[in-house]
């Protein structure tokens, strides 16, 4: 007789220790002894002081919470593949914890008598159990949990202390300004001033022999110890401390700290016996580290070409990486990063305006759409933007639009140069469709709102999250008011928008199974953007539109506003706000780690904590979708 059920059990168990240490035949016969148990939400598996069952449990699907004696605190949550209720069986004692299902759960119950022989005979099974009892973790092989007590398992999660910038090589100035021993101090000071540098290298026969810094001028000249006519030789620090050019930022910082100096001289072979190729200052390190947004903003404003902004954007990415590693709140992180991104775009617009033959004929505004408009774009992605200009008489319309189209082309080219890919759907200000006058945009949005088909809903969902990055505020606000007024007159639009928001496929199936992509290049990957982030983003947009609140385009800020407006749903809205932030942080981290958009997640690479965190947001998504469904009577149009 064939038994598909025990085969499936064996298939499942073989992926988890200690079962992974069993031979196929052993596992097959053990699986035949398993009882599959279904637990509805909030039902008990066992309670404190209950005498031990003759079986222990493995979670197949769902989650089981282990509560302390008073049922006040959750000590641990077991999910797929976790074992619980084994220790009392081994120690011959009653249960010390209460196990209760957090949600619908399927358990595999394994009779202890059938399992005991393997503990005795299989060294690795025994070791696993001893180790897991000793370390108090469910799975001692799971490094992130190693050595942690049950109660701590949640708060802290994988804190890896990889030095952030250890692999990043320093970027130093290669234009060396040098003088000789015989140069007078006055002319050295003049030269330093005219080049805007803080240190002068002194060379002899092409080799570095000394250095004079701002500090030397202050300590030795301004004090009157030496005259300004003295020779360089008299005040220079010698010999110079040299390093090779392949120096990481951390190494450079260490070197400066060690010798208490502010400049390092980099030479061809790293010794004073080869030619100097660069000087590295503390300021250079600051810039490389990018640990100062203010420095970056200043640097962005000083640029003269889009090409110069690009390396600064890399600085922004480093900054972002650092913030995420240090667990700086995402609200703050995204604010700073968005500011910096905005500063880059603003500069690109300014530089593009300079390239035009004349100033703009009328007032205009450059709008960021989509994720950038919502200030939720932390990684480089496509550009979605539009150009809105003031109404002009019909006779002048073509000429005016031509001017702005030309400007928009410069801008989109500039944005592309600094790292924003062109929008594949051509939703860009350089497309006549997205470069229009106020009345033009009004007409277009009215059409969407009054005749909402699937395309219109999609366009609205991208466009309605616009945010002004450059230009006239008044103009933008006029458009916003128009949109909100029109929506108010045609509330059925909200139903369509809500319906669109509910189109996104659900993130999890029955028992919290991640639903992965069924085919295509990303087969078996989890689409974090479409399945988890977009439902939240889309729902927030519908809700905020229905409340007639313009000017908030950011998703979590929208939810926070909703929480304020509807105290009865406060908890859910705040949960949505939190979930959005958590997911965005997650996506950004994934994106930085894999150097992509972070959209598709390889579930196998996630730690259990990461999976748990993700899954917790799914519940919120489900709830907000239900709210949408009911509130906007979506079934009416389906």
């Amino acid at each position: 007789m064939k038994n598909t059920i025990s085969e499936r059990i064996a298939d499942f168990l073989k992926a988890f220790p200690p079962f992974s240490n069993l031979f196929k035949k052993e596992l097959e016969s053990l699986s035949e002894e398993v009882t599959i148990i279904y637990k509805e939400k909030n039902s008990f598996v066992f309670t404190v002081d209950e005498s031990a069952h003759h079986q222990f449990y493995v979670v197949h699907k769902g989650a089981i919470a282990l509560w302390d004696k008073d049922e006040k605190t959750v000590l641990d949550i077991c999910d797929e593949g976790d074992i619980f209720g084994l220790r009392p069986l081994m120690a011959n004692e009653n249960y010390r914890l209460t196990a209760k299902s957090e949600e619908e759960t399927i358990l595999y119950a394994i009779p202890i008598e059938k399992f005991r022989p393997y503990i005795k005979e299989n060294r690795r099974v025994a070791d696993f159990l001893v180790e897991s009892f000793a370390s108090n973790t469910r799975n001692p092989y799971d490094k992130t949990n190693r050595g942690q007590l049950l109660g701590d398992a949640f708060q802290s999660n994988s804190k890896n202390n990889t030095p952030l910038f250890d692999l990043q090589l320093v970027d130093f100035s290669k234009k060396i300004v040098s003088s000789t021993e015989q140069t007078s101090i006055k002319s050295i000071a003049d030269k330093m001033t005219s080049h805007g540098i803080g240190a002068m290298l002194i060379e002899k026969e092409g080799l570095p022999i000394g250095i004079i810094t701002d500090k030397d001028l202050r300590n030795k000249i301004a004090t009157g110890d030496y005259s300004i006519t003295a020779k360089a030789k008299s005040i220079m620090s010698s010999p110079v401390i040299t390093y090779p050019t392949k120096l990481t930022i951390t190494q450079a910082q260490m070197a400066m700290m060690k010798s208490n100096i502010s400049h390092l001289v980099l030479t061809e072979d790293g010794t004073v016996h080869s030619k100097a190729v660069g000087i590295l200052s503390k300021h250079d390190i600051m810039l490389s580290l990018g640990n100062n947004p203010a420095v970056l903003v200043k640097a962005i404003k000083r640029t003269n070409k889009a090409e110069e902004i690009k390396p600064l954007r890399n600085g922004v990415m480093n900054l972002l990486r650092g913030y995420l590693e240090q667990n700086i709140p995402l609200t703050l992180t995204s604010k700073i990063i968005s500011e910096l991104n905005d500063a880059c775009i603003k500069r690109v617009v300014e530089l593009s305006l300079e390239r035009m033959d004349s100033g703009p004929p009328v007032k205009f505004a450059w709008l960021a759409m989509g994720s950038q408009g919502r200030s939720e774009q932390l990684l480089h992605t496509d550009q979605d933007n539009a150009l809105l200009f003031e109404d002009v008489p019909d006779s002048k319309f073509d000429k005016t639009r031509d001017y702005f189209l030309k400007l928009a082309r410069f801008i989109t080219m500039g944005l592309n140069t600094i790292g924003y890919e062109y929008c594949p759907a051509d939703m860009m200000g350089s497309n006549p469709k997205w470069c229009n006058s106020l009345s033009g945009f009004k007409k277009m949005t009215s059409k969407w709102i009054t005749n909402p088909g699937p395309d219109e809903v999609l366009l609205s969902s991208i466009f309605f999250d616009y945010n002004r990055t450059y230009g006239d505020k008044e103009l933008v606000s006029k458009l916003s008011h128009h949109i909100f007024d029109t929506v108010e007159q045609y509330p059925i639009f909200l139903t369509h928008l809500a319906s669109g928001a509910l189109m996104n496929p659900s993130p999890s199936g029955f028992f919290r199974e991640f639903l992965v992509e069924q085919d295509g290049v990303h087969k078996d990957f989890f689409d974090l953007k479409q399945r988890a982030l977009m439902p939240l983003v889309d729902a927030a947009r519908v809700l905020i539109l229905s409340k007639n609140i313009p000017d908030i385009s950011n998703t979590w800020e929208r939810y926070e506003k909703m929480a304020e407006l509807e105290p009865s749903n406060r908890e859910l809205f705040l949960a949505c706000s939190y979930a959005t932030k958590a997911l965005l942080r997650f996506r950004t981290k994934q994106g930085l780690a894999n150097n992509d958009s972070g959209r598709y997640i390889n579930l196998e690479q996630l730690t259990k904590e990461e999976k748990m965190k993700l899954k917790r947001t799914f519940k919120t998504i489900k709830q907000i979708q239900e709210v949408l469904n009911v509130r906007f009577m979506v079934s009416r149009i389906r």
Partner: protein, 223 residues
């Protein structure tokens, strides 16, 4: 075709005798047997069972040991269904006589177990036809139909009048993986999980109430 009582096989007699045991009142004490048959077609008269899969479900627990799947030797064969079920007439799986299969099944159905199946009227009808062919009476067990119960669990406005839902619809509704779909035991397992989920919604207070909710299968019986 009914034979005299003394001519009935031993296993039938044991099966019948076990029904002296009364049905329990509570759901938790009830033994459910969730089953599925794979057949050569949909005609109760002309088609035959290819395989039977069944499992025992008590108080939310399914012991893997009690689950079985048997493949039956065939006399008639319909090429069309082969594609769906993947059971070839002379395939490699070990096949047993129909009577042998019925014996194993009746053993599981002893003691007044309640049969649960998706469109139960069809499966029970197939089994009854086989029993009759071998000179036995029809099954004595009470039955529940997951298609009917599912219909019942929906809000009134969403219910279908014909109560016809494929097992695939239930898989999608409850997001049950379709890994072993179209094998008898695989479908029985899917039916069992769907049944548990439906019970979560219906929350019947007693077995009697649950059986009352399921009257629709009379319709199927009329086939």
């Amino acid at each position: 075709m009914a034979s005299k009582k003394e001519d009935l096989p031993e296993f039938w007699k044991t099966y019948e005798a076990s029904f002296e045991k009364k049905l329990p009142e509570g759901i938790a004490e009830t033994v459910f047997v969730v089953l599925d048959t794979e057949t050569t077609g949909f005609s109760l008269k002309n088609d035959r069972m290819l395989s039977i899969g069944a499992l025992r479900l008590i108080n939310g627990s399914i012991p893997a040991k009690d689950a079985f799947e048997v493949f039956l030797k065939q006399t008639t064969f319909d090429a069309k269904t082969v594609e769906i079920h993947g059971i070839l007439k002379k395939g490699k799986v070990k096949r047993i006589e129909e009577l042998e299969g019925l014996k194993i099944l009746l053993k599981l159905l002893e003691n007044n177990a309640v049969i649960v199946a998706h469109h139960v009227g069809f499966d029970v009808g197939m089994i009854n036809q086989a029993l009759v062919r071998h000179g036995m009476p029809k099954l004595l067990n009470k039955t529940l139909d997951t298609a009917v119960l599912f219909n019942r669990s929906l809000p009134r406005a969403k219910r279908k009048t014909d109560g016809h839902y494929s097992l695939d619809v239930l898989c999608e509704e409850f997001n049950i993986p379709k890994t072993d779909r179209h094998t008898a035991l695989g479908d029985a397992y899917i039916t069992a999980i769907a049944f548990l989920r439906i019970m979560d919604t219906l929350k019947p207070v007693s077995l009697e109430q649950l059986l009352k909710r399921d009257r629709f299968w009379e319709f199927w019986k009329s086939f």
